[in-house]
Symmetry: C2
């Protein structure tokens, strides 16, 4: 059965989006434990840090150390978010495999968030592309001198591969934000979204990701915008990033699946929200997302029991922080096996009289 | 725009399913206020009570008084749930327009819940049909003697129509429960579900409703079972009743919409859960459901702002009881108009640095 299931990539972004959205700072040691626990559950894509000034986001001050730990796992794809060229430089030096640069399709949001217009962000994005390609050439040249040693990667005492000259081509991802609505500008014209997606690809994006920054995505709009962006850039559109602000995170995911998307971001325990906005909520909950995907017969490679157990790291690291999640509360149905037809029975509910 | 929107019926079932699932008893006066507030928000379908022994469900002991109040609204469709013939008799006498009888497709659940096998429940259901038809004949005979007076209905001091001899033909609804999984039996064979749906229609069901009693429905299964039951009974399949136990309530609703279902049950504030089951959760949240439907361009007739305001009745009546809901927490997007394309902007979030 597992041989024929279609793969869906779930990227755990809680270490970046979740942690930067809460007031407290998670000590580096707990971040390492979180990465370990997620890896043990089968998560192979993680966005673990952002390279922004520590003054602005002290939660991310240990980005280098966190990435170094993530890179001890040979088959873990490590993503970092960067707002500018300097961030991209740091992410490259740290050894990230994927670099996400947010490009807001809303001019108002872009100016407020990174003090650049979308056009200026496209220029900055093109500069990141150039930087990445120049580093790749250098690494290639160095790797040539190391022929036969797995492109120069070394192994540490645990047998994990260290970042040497790169094994992976670094992917540059344009994270189009405020695509589904902007708190400052309102609805963003579809023509603007398509134009910015095209410009990002022309500037060198390997991947276009769409972000529901403000939690305003709705099913109809998700379908429309995916088709719009796919018309503009084809299969370079690859990934969706939903927040669950208005309870539509999984419904939106379902529509995206129906429109061919197979990569999604999510946060363990729905970690997130914003210290300055009482109504804000975090990303789609990783456990609930994986449960839905499993139930539909998709292969995420993630073990739900271990994933649920990994919440203990958050409970230890952030006592009192709200941890969300339906599955964590209700438990896995008793006869759950990772196929839709097998989601059958729950051990956790008892019956009251005359339920319907 | 509103002329062309497709209608979706949302039935508020919190007064029945929500209240019978919490330990406290809501005083009758608050139930009346809740009905008033829901009506003021545009809700025109409510399941307000169940007719079960007060010893078993003291929460429902005032069913007659609650239905009498609901019937003061001329255009409100009033539903009652009944487990047996005696309950049906009481619901008819009280004047309910729709009577829902749960029929579990799981033999184990049926025996535990109503001490009858599914086959015995079908027999009981046929007896309810007979009772309803005989009462209808009587009422018809009485109405004939009242010719010219709107089938004998009178108006009270507020101009509301009182229940006289019936204006509406009473609808009998077979609420197929544990359709998507049973905590006792596990997955229920599809052949059993189809057979019981057919038997219910043969026994006189006007409507087949499918209930996710145990909160185990998943999107793939929802689509499969809707098609299965529609193959068996055609458009007599009309209504879906989801719980949100594992966070899939709205995703499941979306699939049901795609499969042509246009009637859904929901509870204000997701009221529910079960005093004996810590992991259990209530029905799909009415506010969040209406928001999703509005955003997709469906016409529910419900005003979201007033619906959100109606939560105040629950807060007053049940201090300390958890009230759920994403929309209640995040607020309506600022530029929300009841069409998908207009869900654009939120006033409630502020920006942190480098969001994606």
């Amino acid at each position: 059965m597992s041989d024929t299931r279609e793969r869906v990539v779930v990227t755990e972004v809680g270490m970046r989006d979740g942690l930067q959205s809460i007031a407290r700072i998670m000590p580096t040691e707990f971040k390492r434990r979180w990465i370990d626990a997620a890896y043990a559950a089968g998560v192979r894509h993680m966005e673990v840090a952002s390279f922004v000034p520590a003054k602005l986001l002290p939660q991310m001050a240990d980005a280098d150390a966190v990435i170094a730990h993530a890179l001890t796992y040979d088959d873990l794809i490590v993503t970092a978010l960067v707002p500018n060229l300097k961030g991209a430089q740091r992410a490259l030096e740290a050894g990230a495999h994927r670099i996400v640069a947010p490009i807001s399709v809303s001019a108002a949001h872009s100016l407020a968030n990174v003090r650049k217009t979308p056009a200026e962000m496209i220029d900055a994005f093109a500069a990141m592309r150039e930087l990445i390609d120049s580093v790749a050439s250098d690494a290639g040249a160095r790797a040539d001198t190391n022929a036969g040693t797995d492109a120069g990667a070394g192994a540490d005492a645990n047998g994990h591969v260290r970042a040497g000259p790169r094994k992976h081509r670094v992917e540059l991802i344009a994270g189009l934000s405020t695509v589904f609505g902007c708190t400052l500008q309102g609805a963003v014209p579809y023509a603007d979204i398509a134009a910015i997606a095209r410009a990002a690809v022309q500037a060198g994006a390997d991947v276009i990701a769409l972000g529901d920054t403000t939690g305003e995505a709705t099913p109809s709009r998700v379908g429309e915008i995916i088709e719009l962006v796919r018309d503009a850039v084809g299969d370079t559109l690859r990934s969706l990033h939903f927040h669950d602000t208005r309870g539509l995170g999984l419904a939106n995911t379902l529509i995206a699946l129906q429109h061919g998307i197979r990569e999604f971001d999510a946060s363990l325990a729905g970690l997130g929200g914003c210290p300055h906005a009482p109504g804000a909520t975090g990303n789609v909950n990783t456990e609930d997302l994986v449960f839905m995907l499993d139930s539909m017969g998709y292969d995420t490679g993630i073990d739900l029991t271990r994933l649920l157990a990994s919440r203990a790291v958050l409970a230890d690291a952030l006592p009192g922080e709200p941890l969300y999640g339906y599955l964590a509360r209700a438990g896995l149905p008793k006869q759950f096996i990772a196929t839709g037809a097998s989601v059958g029975s729950s051990s956790d509910s008892t019956e009251s009289q005359v339920l319907q």
